[in-house]
């Protein structure tokens, strides 16, 4: 891709100059005032959602945004940084979800089963990612897209058919460890008018783990390893000629991305207390992830934050807006159908195509261009 974002300074060089924040962000600062402001706003809002809004819907939306930031950022490691398109990302997401769900449902609702489920899921994801990578990245990168699509579909079919293990189409509902249940009270008195209960703890668990994984991914893409991935994306042949083993690097990238997606799936299952084919494995989630990465901005981790936040909000609130527009245009042929609330994906799809053509850096690329 010719339109990659300008590379920031090397990590060590800026770390000597920067403070804690620079270290935390791996020297990959937003480099745009508007972008910094938006990111800060998203961070503060996500951190304070349970105290700012009442009711369960805003917290649910915020948790979904957190999980999707991790999921989309890990996908961006593949798509934006390594230049390969995988359609199996939801499979790893699903493995994480099923790992937690099966362990908590079959063994016991305790923290040790959470650990068992997560470790087993991570191991399975790593093995699958290595197998797919070695089988298909060797030949041509384009094989990878098609083979991941086939494997992901097979995984989805398997999950819905092996109902003794996975609960089939119905999925699995399970109990959380006691500290995360709504009935659990950490403090007897409310803080700022909000009860500190298990649900709140679950939210902050999701928030904290997402933040850590996101920062870790940011660190990875700004490491020498990440730099090699970008070099391979820009010119595979030259990277190979410089002595980097392209297949090994790409496979490693797909394994890291699969592991992060597995963690995201585990968080989603913990938050929903349920996992089924529709919540983690379906192809429509894969399409959502693609849209989020591209609209937010490929090749920047911050694009994942903005893409995920924008998309989840649009999913929840754009439909209301379109419903109003739909009612206003009633009576005109076809036009009301185009802005029917169910057609929101049509407009995001169009935005997606325009993004790929007109501003391949997505929203982040646009913001960085505007203000250096």
């Amino acid at each position: 891709m010719s339109t990659s974002p300008a590379l920031p300074l090397a990590f060590d060089e800026t770390r000597r100059r920067g403070g804690i924040l620079t270290g935390l962000l791996s020297s990959d600062l937003p480099r745009s005032r508007a972008l910094s402001f938006i990111l800060l706003a998203i961070f503060v809002l996500l951190a304070a959602t349970p105290f700012l809004f009442s009711g369960s819907q805003p917290v649910g939306t915020a948790a979904k945004i957190c999980v999707f930031i991790v999921l989309v950022a890990s996908y961006d490691l593949l798509l934006g940084y390594s230049g390969i398109v995988s359609f199996a990302h939801t499979m790893f997401y699903g493995i994480g979800g099923y790992g937690i769900a099966i362990a908590l449902e079959r063994i016991s609702p305790t923290w040790s089963s959470v650990a068992i489920g997560l470790v087993a899921a991570l191991a399975l994801s790593a093995v699958l990612a290595i197998a797919i990578g070695l089988l298909s990245l060797r030949v041509r990168a384009i094989f990878f897209s098609m083979i991941t699509l086939a494997v992901a579909t097979a995984a989805a079919v398997l999950a819905s058919q092996l109902s003794e293990i996975t609960g089939g189409e119905d999925g699995l509902s399970f109990q959380l460890p006691p500290a995360l249940r709504p009935a659990f009270r950490l403090l007897s008195e409310p803080v700022f008018g909000t009860m500190i209960n298990g649900r709140l703890l679950a939210y902050y668990l999701v928030f904290t783990v997402s933040l850590i994984v996101f920062l870790a991914l940011l660190r990875i893409v700004n490491s020498p390893f990440g730099r090699v991935l970008q070099a391979i994306r820009e010119n595979e042949f030259r990277a190979e000629a410089l002595g980097y083993r392209v297949v090994a690097y790409r496979t490693a990238a797909s394994v890291i991305s699969a592991l992060a997606a597995t963690i995201a799936g585990a968080l989603m299952a913990l938050w929903l207390r349920y996992n089924g084919p529709d919540t983690t494995l379906s192809f429509s989630i894969m399409i959502d992830i693609l849209l989020m990465v591209v609209i937010g901005g490929m090749g920047t981790m911050y694009g994942a934050v903005i893409g995920a936040a924008l998309f989840v909000l649009a999913q929840s609130y754009l439909q209301v807006l379109m419903g109003a527009g739909n009612a206003a245009l009633a009576g005109i042929p076809l036009l009301p159908n185009l802005i029917h609330p169910d057609r929101w994906l049509l407009w995001l799809g169009a935005l997606f195509i325009i993004s790929v053509y007109a501003f391949p850096g997505g929203i982040v690329g646009r913001l960085r261009q505007g203000k250096p």
């Binding site: 384009i142 057609r343 995001l348 195509i353 790929v356 053509y357």
Partner: protein, 340 residues
């Protein structure tokens, strides 16, 4: 080079490309191998015919994609939407001519099917032309962007189908005389599947004739191997590219009609559902090879049918297994296409 020297003694004869028979032998070998496992010969014939029909339908849907890839190095993830579009286009015919479907006359029924196919191919050809111009043309040469943008085109077109025809599944009945089955002793062959086999064979032979016996086919094959050279010789390779893309879309439309009547329901996602199979088939066949696509389709469908009969649980992943085995044997697919 030594081949060239041997050939020079007979200057009128050009060196013939060697036909690779091994993958072709796979099909009868597989069928024979399945016979003892299935046990009953008449069941075996039924399964084989059903598998052939299924394979032909997959071939119809996949052939356009592999042709477009071979010639233009374009991977169109939006191909599935042409399948759906072709299927929905049958409604344009079935709406006004509903009477033809109910009549008992086989002529009228076949005419209806033919008309559906024609209209669907016209619609998808037109859509293909628009798709090529708007979606694909700006991203020639970059696989990553092609995958992204054609996925975007898929999303938008699927949503447009929802907007135009509604989001709920639409049932379409098979014309009266195409229902039911031919019964020969113990052997049962569904009529519609026999028709699918015939249409699939006709299309395959037609494509082979055009590709191997006509001037256009010669240019297409030359374009696959070296587009710059064809252009340097004064042919407008762009025009050739576009017409192949349109033809590929029309073939997807044809496949969509056949697939729709087979499923007897229309959903906007039906194309994307079958795309997984289509991708498996063109990977097995070798990206860009029409013959490989044909063999791959039949192979996948036969294996799915036999395995589904012998061990139903395994049938779900039989496609992936076939693909893995073929790729271990020949990493570039059954008939690797020589590329620059």
């Amino acid at each position: 080079m030594s081949d060239m020297a041997a050939q020079s003694s007979a200057p009128a004869e050009l060196p013939r490309a060697k036909t690779d028979w091994l993958p072709l032998l796979l099909i009868p070998a597989l069928a024979l191998l399945a016979l003892p496992f299935v046990g009953n010969p008449s069941t075996w014939v039924t399964l084989t015919v059903a598998g052939l029909a299924m394979g032909m339908m997959i071939f119809l849907m996949a052939s356009g994609l592999t042709l477009v890839f071979g010639l233009m190095d374009i991977i169109n993830f939006g191909h599935g939407v042409f399948i759906s579009l072709g299927a929905y286009a049958t409604l344009l015919v079935l709406g006004p001519l509903a009477g033809w479907a109910l009549s008992d006359s086989i002529g009228l029924n076949l005419a209806l099917l033919g008309l559906c196919i024609l209209v669907a191919m016209a619609v998808t050809a037109l859509a293909g032309a628009v798709f090529e111009r708007v979606i694909v043309r700006p991203v020639y040469g970059s696989h990553l962007k092609q995958i992204l943008v054609t996925m975007g085109g898929l999303i938008v077109t699927e949503q447009l189908i929802h907007a135009i025809w509604g989001a709920s599944p639409i049932p379409i009945p098979l014309p009266q005389s195409l229902r039911g089955a031919f019964v020969l002793g113990d052997i049962v062959m569904e009529r519609y599947r026999v028709i699918a086999v015939v249409i699939g064979l006709v299309v395959f032979l037609g494509m082979q004739l055009i590709l191997n016996r006509t001037r256009i086919g010669l240019l297409i094959r030359a374009g696959v191997e070296n587009p710059e050279m064809v252009e340097a010789l004064g042919y407008r390779i762009r025009r050739l590219f576009v017409s192949v893309f349109i033809a590929g879309s029309a073939l997807a439309g044809l496949g969509g009609v056949m697939w729709a009547f087979y499923r007897q329901t229309l959903t906007a996602g039906m194309g994307m559902e079958v795309m997984v199979l289509v991708f498996i088939v063109i990977i097995i066949g070798g990206l860009g090879s029409v013959g490989g696509c044909f063999v791959g389709s039949i192979l996948v469908a036969l294996v799915a049918n036999y395995v589904g009969f012998i061990e139903p649980k395994l049938a779900l992943i039989s496609n992936i297994l076939v693909m893995a085995l073929v790729l271990i044997w020949r990493p570039q697919g059954l008939f690797p296409v020589a590329r620059r």
